[in-house]
C-alpha cells in the first residue's frame, strides 16, 4: 500500500533531499545537486511571487519509495495563456504504484488550483535541471542536469504522459583538422558588425557586476520564445550569481558588445564538476571544495551553460566568435571535451554549429505532458 504525503517537517525535508542520494548511491552517472541549495529551496517552501510549490513523498511499507516536486509557474502560465502544473525532482523505485501515486498527488494538487495540464520534468525556469533522460543512460551527467534510471520513462508513459518536447545533447571534441578560416572570419565578423569582445581585465566579481544586466537582458530576449522558459527575475538573478560565482572562470565567460558596450551576445561555460561531485552527496566538504577548485583551475571537461546572440545579430556570423573560443578551449590547455547540455530538438540553428567540432549526439531528454482538466 502506497501512502503519499506532502513534505511538512524538517525530517520530511531531509528525507526528500536524501532519498535520491540513496537510490543512486552506486550509480556512477548520477551527479547530485548541492545539498545546501536543495535544503534552502525546501525550507523556503518553494513559493515566490511567480511560483507556487508542493513537495511530495511516497512511502511503501513504511519506507520512502519516491518523491516529486510540483510547481505552478504563474509567470509562464500568464505569458503563454496556459494552465499547467509542472513536475520536477521526480524519483522513484521501479514500482508503477509508487510513481502513479506521486503523479496523482501532483495532478490533484494542480486540479485544485484549476490547472488543466501537467508537464515535466520542468523546474522554475530553464536554468533548473529539466527533462527526463530517455537515451544515453550510460553517459556521464553534467552538474547542470538530472540523471534518471532507464525505467523512469516507462513509469511516466504508463501513467498516460505523452512527449511534449525533446532536447538533444552533444559531446564536442576538437575538430580533426585545424580550421584556420574560422579564426580569420572571427576578426572580420567583429569588425563588420562593429562589435568587440568585452575586456575581462578586472576581478571576476567586477566583471560579472559590470555586464550582469546586459547578460540577463540578452538572455531573456533570446530565450523568451523557447519551450518552457520564463524571464529571470531580479531575485533569481541574484541567486544564480551567488550559486555559480565559485565555479565561474572568467576565461569561459565571454560577452560580445556593440559600440555602446551593450551586450549583444555571450557564451557562458562552466568547468565540468561531475568528477568533483560524483560521490559527494552534494555536500561541500573541504575535500570536495578542493576538488572543485582544482577542476575550476584546470578543467578536463567544459559544460556549455548558455550561449546567445540577439536576433538582430543572428545570421551575421557573430557566433563565430563563440565557436572559435570553444575550439581554442579544446585545443589549448587541459580541456578534452565540451558538453553542450540541452539543445531543443527543434533548435536546428544551434545544433548546426556543432559541425565545426568532432561531435557525438549522446543523450536525449524529454518533457512529457498530460491533460488533467
Amino acid at each position: 500500500m502506497v501512502e503519499v504525503r506532502q513534505v511538512k517537517t524538517k525530517k520530511d525535508i531531509k528525507e526528500f533531499i536524501e532519498f535520491p542520494l540513496r537510490l543512486y548511491k552506486k550509480c556512477p552517472y548520477f551527479i547530485p545537486p548541492l545539498y545546501g541549495d536543495e535544503k534552502k529551496l525546501l525550507t523556503s517552501g518553494g513559493n515566490t511571487k511567480y511560483a507556487e510549490s508542493a513537495f511530495f513523498l511516497a512511502l511503501k511499507d513504511g519506507k520512502t519509495a519516491g518523491r516529486l516536486h510540483a510547481i505552478i509557474q504563474k509567470q509562464y502560465n500568464e505569458l503563454h495563456s496556459t494552465t499547467q502544473v509542472r513536475f520536477t525532482r521526480f524519483d522513484s523505485i521501479d514500482d508503477k504504484e509508487v510513481a502513479h501515486a506521486l503523479f496523482k498527488a501532483a495532478e490533484d494538487w494542480g486540479k485544485a488550483r484549476n490547472m488543466k495540464q501537467i508537464v515535466g520534468p520542468l523546474g522554475f525556469s530553464d536554468l533548473d535541471r529539466e527533462g527526463m533522460l530517455v537515451e544515453g543512460f550510460e553517459e556521464d551527467s553534467t552538474f547542470e542536469e538530472q540523471y534518471n534510471f532507464p525505467y523512469y520513462p516507462q513509469l511516466v508513459e504508463a501513467y498516460g504522459f505523452k512527449k511534449d518536447a525533446d532536447w538533444l545533447e552533444y559531446e564536442l571534441r576538437a575538430p580533426k583538422e585545424e580550421n584556420k578560416t574560422l579564426a580569420r572570419i572571427t576578426k572580420r565578423s567583429l569588425e563588420m558588425n562593429k562589435l568587440h569582445v568585452a575586456s575581462s581585465n578586472m576581478s571576476k566579481r567586477r566583471y560579472i557586476a559590470k555586464y550582469r544586466d546586459g547578460f540577463f537582458d540578452c538572455l531573456d530576449e533570446c530565450y523568451r520564445k523557447l519551450y518552457g522558459t520564463v524571464p529571470i527575475t531580479r531575485e533569481a538573478q541574484d541567486e544564480l550569481i551567488d550559486q555559480f560565482l565559485l565555479i565561474v572562470n572568467k576565461k569561459y565567460l565571454v560577452f560580445i558588445c556593440d559600440e555602446n558596450d551593450r551586450v549583444v551576445g555571450f557564451g557562458l561555460c562552466f568547468p565540468g564538476l561531475s568528477d568533483a561531485l560524483r560521490y559527494s552527496k552534494g555536500k561541500l566538504t573541504p575535500l570536495t571544495l578542493l576538488k572543485i577548485l582544482r577542476v575550476v583551475r584546470k578543467p578536463k571537461v567544459i559544460d556549455l551553460g548558455l550561449v546567445a546572440v540577439r536576433p538582430e545579430y543572428q545570421r551575421k556570423a557573430v557566433n563565430a566568435v563563440l565557436l572559435e573560443g570553444m575550439i581554442k578551449m579544446l585545443t589549448e590547455g587541459t580541456v578534452e571535451k565540451c558538453e553542450t547540455n540541452l539543445n531543443l530538438e527543434t533548435n536546428t540553428a544551434v545544433q548546426a554549429q556543432w559541425k565545426y567540432f568532432s561531435s557525438r549526439q549522446h543523450k536525449r531528454r524529454r518533457s512529457y505532458i498530460k491533460e488533467i482538466g
Binding site: 580569420r184 563588420m192 558588425n193 545570421r315 556570423a317
Partner: protein
C-alpha cells in the same frame, strides 16, 4: 567573375560540383549555407577581389554576388 565565385564557393563547401552552380543557385536553400559560411564567403571575396566589405552582407543567390561585385569593383 562567375567562375571565380564558383571556385570560392567550392573551397568553402568542399565536395560542391562547380558545374551545377548557376546565378540562380540559392546559397542558404540550395547549398545549406549558414552565417559562418557566408562570412567565409565575404572574407574570400575580399581577398579574391581586393576590396573590403563595410558591413555584413547576406547574399541570397550567386547572382546577387555577381551583381554586387559588378557595382563595387
Amino acid at each position: 567573375m562567375l567562375d571565380k565565385i564558383k571556385e570560392i564557393i567550392a573551397v568553402i563547401l568542399p565536395g560542391t560540383d562547380k558545374d551545377t552552380l548557376t546565378e540562380n543557385t540559392r546559397l542558404f536553400e540550395d547549398l545549406q549555407f549558414d552565417s559562418i559560411s557566408m562570412m567565409m564567403l565575404l572574407t574570400e571575396l575580399e581577398e579574391g577581389f581586393g576590396f573590403r566589405f563595410n558591413q555584413f552582407v547576406g547574399f541570397e543567390t550567386i547572382g546577387d554576388i555577381t551583381g554586387y561585385l559588378e557595382c563595387r569593383i
